[in-house]
């Protein structure tokens, strides 16, 4: 049911919106990719039959107690470091109390006034604007709830079912400062955050699978006003596209309310992707007093300097730094550097291939162009590439050294992709090695010139572009194996 405020006011026009500034903060839940759950030894995996990955602890059985998973803490620390946060040496778990059928204990174990980490930031870039830092207020750990299933059973008209496989899955909640000013910035922030966590290796961040969930706090204020407007929380943003659409809708809804003299109500709204609108929830459902208090079943989480140093030293290079290094050390264009850091797997792959080939820019072209094309055609990700990074590097090196022509290299790569063989063995078996031997090439060039006297005459009379014709003839005669540069050289010498 919608509240009265939304029914009355029309959406704002572009001119009206221009008079306002949006203030946006995001609360992001990320599921950590640990083997087991946060407080018990059940597998942290999904897609199994309902209520099979459960035990007394995650079922909230009377008498059962939580024991904190060390791996989950390490992943959470890595997430905090990836987002430039300060990790607190002592953090405290707290109970967040509320009733819901997918919450078997009747409370969530979270962190409240003493979270794991604070004071982080992410640098985002929106096209046409200078880079901007978005602050991260805090990161805390908590356990996930299960899932209520309302359809698919023959008595679903009368009953809901509960699947507790997900209950106790480890989460971190990442709360940003209200420092974003447009849906584009929110989009860029979430993209950068996702990339950083993927690089850190703590989560797949797959939004479709719910590994990354996002709520947005949105308010508007007249430009120039210092105080924040009344904020509205938007839930159910389960894709990047929906995040952008929902924020844009909400901004124009709020400006519309303000412009028509209405009052924006502090509330929680759900994004409806079919309507493309945010809808108010009944206020009763959001009137929560969570009655937080320190979780007496867990001791405070203490992180020693040694532990923190160990995790820090094992951190991989974050995407922002990696982009900079690719540009500076490898001479890549910013666009290519960004593409090649699109995922940690791709960046790692490219890095290794570039090192093997010794020609980073050529490697970038082959990675972004030919290999990605083959992967796309086969519906594969870089992680499953049949051509390893080292083998791509070898192939690129052969091209760079003139041992293989670019044209033949494309065919060789296709074969490598099909069979998983190395370039060297394909080239050797099929005799595809480029002909660079001047003696051999001069002989073939002589035959070609002799067979085409008319064109030779044209060249000699000044139409030097005919050289391309002769190179083509040499290529044809050598089934593409002639080194084009060496062939051109030989022809020029002959045609004088």
């Amino acid at each position: 049911m919608e509240s009265m405020a939304d029914v009355a006011a029309p959406l704002a026009t572009a001119n009206q919106i221009a008079k306002y500034e949006a203030v946006i903060g995001l609360e992001v839940h990320v599921q950590l990719g640990t083997k087991t759950k946060i407080f018990c030894a059940c597998p942290n995996q999904f897609g199994d039959a309902p209520n099979t990955n459960v035990c007394p602890v995650c079922l909230g059985m009377p008498g059962a107690l939580p024991v904190l998973n060390r791996q989950a803490v390490e992943y959470a620390i890595q997430a905090a470091l990836a987002l430039n946060c300060e990790v607190r040496r002592k953090s405290v778990f707290a109970r967040k109390n509320y009733f819901y059928p997918d919450l078997p204990k009747g409370y969530q174990i979270s962190q409240y006034d003493q979270p794991l980490a604070e004071h982080g930031w992410v640098e985002v870039e929106v096209e046409g604007q200078p880079p901007k830092r978005i602050g991260i207020t805090r990161i805390h750990m908590e356990d996930d709830a299960g899932k209520n299933i309302h359809e698919g059973f023959k008595d679903s008209d009368r009953y809901s079912y509960v699947d507790l496989n997900r209950t106790g899955s480890p989460l971190v909640e990442i709360v940003s400062e209200p420092e974003m000013r447009s849906s584009d910035e929110a989009f860029a922030y979430l993209s950068e955050l996702k990339l950083a966590l993927q690089f850190a290796g703590v989560s797949s961040c797959d939004m479709e699978k719910g590994h990354l969930r996002c709520d947005a706090n949105v308010s508007v204020r007249p430009r120039g006003q210092a105080e924040f407007g009344t904020k509205v929380e938007i839930k159910n943003l389960n894709s990047f596209r929906f995040l952008k659409q929902a924020i844009d809708f909400e901004i124009s809804r709020q400006v519309g309310v303000a412009e028509s003299g209405g009052k924006i109500v502090q509330e929680t709204r759900l994004y409806d992707p079919v309507l493309g609108e945010t809808l108010g929830m009944r206020s009763k459902e959001e009137a929560h007093d969570y009655r937080y208090f320190p979780e007496p079943d867990l001791v405070p989480l203490l992180i020693s300097d040694e532990w923190l140093a160990r995790v820090k030293s094992a951190m991989p290079e974050m995407p922002a730094l990696r982009r900079k290094r690719f540009a500076a050390d490898y001479g890549l264009r910013p666009y290519d550097a960004a593409v090649l850091t699109g995922s940690r797997a791709l960046a790692d792959f490219y890095d290794e291939a570039a090192k093997t080939s010794g020609d980073p820019r050529l490697t970038a072209n082959w990675t972004i162009g030919d290999l990605q094309g083959l992967l796309k055609g086969a519906g594969k990700e870089i992680e499953d590439s049949p051509v390893s990074a080292a083998r791509l590097g070898e192939l690129v090196a052969m091209v760079a050294n003139g041992e293989l022509t670019g044209k033949l290299a494309k065919d060789v790569l296709a074969k490598m992709f099909e069979t998983g063989e190395s370039a060297v063995s394909i080239v050797e078996r099929e005799g595809l090695k480029a002909i660079s031997d001047t003696g051999v090439l001069e002989k073939i060039a002589a035959q070609v010139v002799e067979a085409n006297p008319k064109q030779a005459e044209q060249y000699r009379s000044g139409k030097t572009s005919v050289i391309q014709f002769f190179v083509g003839q040499v290529m044809k005669a050598t089934r593409g194996q002639a080194n084009p540069a060496a062939a051109t050289e030989a022809l020029k010498k002959l045609l004088g």
Partner: protein
């Protein structure tokens, strides 16, 4: 054999000399419990199959020449707030009338691994909330010493069974006095160990930061033996202590001459004259044994009850949220909607005392009240703990009455929760501080009602506590 009077040591001797087998002992204990239980209603369930299976394992080990463990063959009762795999565990609540846990509490597993024979599940106040065992959904327990009186609570069934002889030892749980107070009312030994000494895994939570599992027994030696078995670090309980478990029975034989005993003056105000008389006699006995007795002060004692009832109800309101009708709780048959399910299931299922505490606890944690109640109570709790630390700078142990009065009549305090709460006035401070404390029999009133003396020592100084208790028991001739 008189199963109602055997000690653990006698059982070990009897088994080894082949006076009786563990199976014979279990059969006889089960028959005795079945015959005697109607007098007290201490047992809610007798687990004959499981008891006999354990006994057979003990006999097999004995005949194979293996060590069957320090509790070999010992008929043991378990308070029904401690979960037992495959055995209904009700917590004295209608809500859990059909709850059969899929796992054993760590303490239960340790008892059976040590050869103990789990005889059955013992009655208690609903979710361990109460001081008279009258809050059980399955009827009150009667005091074996005076059938018209309460056995105390919440471990009333455990104390009554041990006093009655239908269990040799029993596990109870203590949050603010729930082991010590019934032990004193029934004239048995009851031990609340240091917080973290015994794993809480499988103890259905009432107030997690105050809940303890501990032994009840007819003598100090049996209590020490049982504690030795169940104590120790458990990876399943993050709050369980890493400190190594000491030899409690060995400590009982150390001399007490020269031990400094403190009598906190705040604990000798407002007790009945009969109780005072017995405790004073007990203190004289300690002097005769060579202890040096001096008066001490624990100045924050007057705030203990308020502090305790804020912290324990706050935690209880959260711990009891899971009884919502979704799983293992009996769901109200009238419920049509989700809200109905919560309201009706909990409204019909919880007894009055649980409801009172859930409401109190919800209130003290709610927005705007947290600082004034819960946070302040935590500060008071720290002050109470510091009182003890200061006292233990000058004395080795504290001695106090367990309860201001002996066992009262069934129904006498049922309508007056404040009077009921006052029966724990001397026991909740030790719980708040998390220090070891126990009740030892200390004579009887002129009406023949047992009186218990409380001994409290420093964190993890269970050896000192048992040492004093054992000497006191010997000197006074206070064994059942």
């Amino acid at each position: 054999m008189e199963t109602g009077k055997l000690t653990i040591a006698q059982i070990q001797a009897g088994l080894r000399s082949k006076q009786f087998s563990a199976v014979e002992l279990a059969e006889s204990a089960l028959a005795f419990a079945e015959a005697e239980n109607p007098k007290t209603n201490a047992y809610l369930l007798l687990a004959a199959d499981r008891a006999l299976a354990s006994a057979r394992r003990v006999d097999a080990k004995l005949s194979a020449g293996e060590d069957p463990g320090p509790l070999a063959g010992v008929p043991t009762g378990i308070k029904d707030v401690i979960v037992t795999k495959g055995l209904r565990t009700t917590c004295g609540s209608k809500l859990l009338e059909k709850f059969v846990p899929p796992y054993d509490a760590t303490a239960v597993a340790r008892i059976e691994n040590a050869g103990g024979v789990l005889l059955g599940k013992l009655n208690c106040d609903e979710f361990a909330m109460g001081s008279s065992n009258e809050n059980s959904a399955f009827g009150p327990v009667r005091n074996p010493a005076a059938p018209d009186r309460v056995p105390g609570g919440s471990s009333g069934g455990s104390a009554a069974a041990v006093a009655q002889g239908t269990a040799v030892v029993a596990l109870g749980s203590d949050t603010g006095g729930s082991i010590r107070q019934p032990a004193s009312f029934c004239g048995v030994v009851g031990v609340t160990p240091t917080y973290g000494r015994v794993s809480r895994y499988g103890l259905v939570a009432f107030a997690s930061s105050l809940d303890h599992i501990g032994p009840l027994a007819r003598n100090v030696d049996d209590a020490a033996t049982l504690l030795g078995v169940i104590a120790g670090r458990d990876p399943m309980d993050s709050t369980s202590a890493f400190a190594p478990v000491q030899d409690y029975r060995a400590a009982m034989h150390l001399p007490v001459r020269g031990m400094k005993i403190g009598l906190p003056k705040e604990y000798f105000e407002g007790l009945t004259s009969d109780t005072r008389l017995q405790i004073e006699k007990g203190v004289r006995l300690l002097r005769q044994e060579g202890c040096e007795v001096l008066e001490v002060s624990l100045p924050h004692t007057p705030y203990a009850i308020a502090c305790y009832y804020i912290i324990c109800t706050a935690e209880a309101s959260s711990n009891l949220a899971r009884y919502d009708g979704v799983k293992y709780t009996i769901r109200s048959s009238r419920a049509q909607t989700l809200q109905d399910m919560y309201r009706m299931t909990r409204g019909e299922g919880f007894g009055a005392e649980c409801k009172r505490r859930i409401m109190l606890g919800t209130y003290v944690l709610s927005a705007g009240y947290y600082d004034a109640y819960y946070l302040k109570a935590q500060k008071v709790r720290a002050l109470i703990a510091r009182d003890f630390e200061r006292a233990f700078e000058t004395v080795d142990a504290l001695v106090t009455p367990v309860s201001p009065f002996p066992a009262f009549k069934l129904g006498e305090k049922l309508d007056d929760p404040i009077q009921m709460y006052l029966s724990d006035i001397y026991t909740i401070t030790g719980s708040l501080a998390g220090i070891p404390c126990m009740s030892v029999p200390c004579g009887a009133t002129s009406e023949g009602l047992p009186v218990g003396m409380q001994i409290l020592t420093r964190h993890f100084d269970e050896p000192g506590m048992f040492r004093l208790a054992a000497h006191f028991e010997r000197a006074g001739g206070f064994t059942l």
